[in-house]
Symmetry: C2
Subunit: 388 residues, 2 copies
């Protein structure tokens, strides 16, 4: 399923981004809106110290209908207590008023510093120009929600007669680099809220939930989808396939743009006892600091691969059955290192992306995970910053 060369919106969706003064400079307030109410679904971070917008967003998503998403950066509205919830609601209500729609139809997102009050007055005063600036290019919104991302992230594709567009940001998992993951998907396909929610959860589980830049789970992660139905129904399977393709692509964009990353790392695990174990092993490989530094260093270290498989204590691991390949070159068979052209593999490890495949040889479970290398850049970005 090919993506459009230039991302574009489905029928009836527009976006805008302005500078309202939360940041010293640059756009810090963005809006995505449908001209009609849309069926909607959303999933949020499992972090147990979630931001106020997550608490309010969970309520809103339960209604299964949304028409707009308003997003600010620089201040995450996390760790702000009851007053944070009051301000999150005000942010949604003010946006609804500016758009002339019901406040229950506006999802709000905030990312940035934790523990600082949301500057709600600046947001409210920025809304009229935000609404006045609504336009057709999704890259404007993608750029508006960026923080430490090195480039805006948006993809769109056709699904039947309809269009699916996904806008995302994220680089590390948490402030203060204001780089928590936000993903907003829009379609003019007609999909009811129930099936939309099922499709979203299933696809997120195989894409964003298998992504790790640094194992640190943000307090603000949000992935929402709005389907305004303006183009009519599409086949459910086609829609889910499109959603999987688009989210997979965005997952790779996010991993590749991980803080300090120079390489996208894709791990495929096959032959696991079941899907759960395949996911555990894939996540272990993609999250291991020693595998990540091995990718950065460009060395085919089969010992680290064995180690990262073996530390999955609750999985069925029979050392004598493990096979592995790096960028398509077999490096392990029957649990033993096989002879391979090290120079050639070193060369392949210098390319982007790097693919690591592991077969556990014990069952039919399979999974993919996405990550990136661990570099000086990650240490630099996260050791030098502003937290207050």
């Amino acid at each position: 399923m090919p993506f459009h060369e230039t991302p574009r919106f489905p029928r009836g969706f527009r976006c805008a981004a302005v500078h309202c003064g939360i940041k010293a400079e640059g756009r810090d307030l963005s809006l995505f809106a449908s001209e009609t109410p849309a069926a909607a679904a959303a999933v949020f971070t499992r972090n147990k110290v979630p931001g106020a917008p997550i608490l309010v967003g969970r309520e809103l998503a339960r209604g299964g209908r949304l028409q707009a998403v308003v997003v600010n950066s620089r201040v995450s509205n996390v760790g702000t207590g009851e007053e944070g919830v009051v301000r999150a609601r005000r942010m949604g209500e003010a946006t609804a008023t500016a758009l002339g729609i019901h406040p229950g139809l506006v999802l709000m997102s905030s990312t940035g510093v934790i523990g600082v009050p949301l500057p709600i007055d600046k947001i409210e005063s920025g809304l009229p120009s935000l609404v006045a600036g609504l336009q057709d290019d999704p890259m404007v919104g993608a750029e508006g929600i960026m923080t430490t991302d090195t480039h805006p992230k948006a993809v769109s594709m056709s699904v039947g007669q309809a269009t699916l567009t996904v806008v995302a940001k994220g680089s590390g998992m948490i402030e203060p680099n204001m780089a928590t993951m936000l993903v907003f998907a829009f379609t003019d396909a007609a999909v009811d809220a129930g099936p939309l929610d099922s499709a979203l959860r299933e696809v997120v589980d195989d894409t964003f939930n298998m992504l790790s830049v640094d194992t640190d789970t943000s307090t603000s992660d949000t992935c929402a989808i709005l389907a305004n139905g303006l183009t009519g129904p599409v086949a459910t399977d086609d829609f889910k396939s499109a959603l999987l393709a688009a989210f997979t692509r965005v997952t790779e964009l996010l991993a590749r743009d991980g803080e300090g990353a120079t390489t996208l790392l894709r791990v495929t695990v096959t032959g696991a006892a079941d899907r759960r174990e395949a996911r555990t092993v894939a996540k272990s490989l993609v999250s291991s600091p020693l595998v990540k530094t091995m990718v950065f260093g460009g060395d085919p270290n089969v010992g680290r691969v064995l180690m990262a498989v073996g530390k999955c204590f609750d999985c069925t691991v029979l050392p004598g059955r493990i096979a592995a390949s790096i960028c398509g070159v077999p490096v392990l068979a029957g649990g033993l290192r096989v002879a391979f052209d090290e120079g050639a593999v070193r060369e392949l490890l210098r390319r982007d992306p790097v693919d690591l495949e592991v077969d556990l040889g014990v069952g039919e479970g399979r999974a993919r995970a996405w990550g990136c290398d661990l570099t000086h850049g990650y240490v630099d970005e996260n050791a030098a910053y502003y937290s207050s």
Copy 2:
């Protein structure tokens, strides 16, 4: 319980270290031996791809009696299949022959590169000079087992009339920096194998099992204790207290000497629902790349503390009850950032060690964990090396 200024052995223990030719230069073969058989206990890595010495060592430890420990570096004898087990046994048997003792009394340990055959001939030919060199200074053995460690690690202390001596090495969790964790403890106190095993497991659970340099679990981790009884019995409580004090000290030495580390990080969690949850939260804090880079960067980032607590999905976390302090200065209360002197805390974060205390306010569970900061040095050591 004060440690001896210069580490010394309990009665009847000696050690030696030689260069047998596995490394290009430097000592690569070490021996620790008691003049009489000793009650013994050992715990090993939970990694499911364990080294051959681990497989053989588990059998040996079941006997509850050991008299010597032989250790080589540079080649870990992991991922070497059946032949690896044969060579591990040969290493123990040859040592027993050289010492004139039963082969079931010799524990063998190997750390280093994975997937490379153990150079057993070199080890066997080095044994006569190793045995001939047995002497009284534990630092010789501590230096002999070093790999990427920046200094040898040994402590000793009195327990009643007896002595407890612990020798250890470890810096990262895995090859190729040959830095897996090995800990050998020796005492002339008379403790039976059963109580020795219980004490070892209990104390390891609160010390080494709460240590993380990089979350990557080695395939060779081993912690063994030998009690030769030459000085007679000591009170069980005194012995366990001494073991806890010594292992805590060694845990701190290992964490502080973590690959690339500049600072020891100590985390104390109180007020958790129970001990398991306290351990989970303490481990989450000490392992979080964003907390570790925050310590390296010297910035009091309360958001990262909240994040790392909140990502313990299976724990009882009530955001409004979380309190925290950094190096004794309160930074969070009732889940909200409190006013504090940031300059002063930045100054404290520049010292070594750094203490982070978190109270969850939901119960009586408490735990401590140890780690270190994440620095450029870690990336350097692990991105540039030799894996084959």
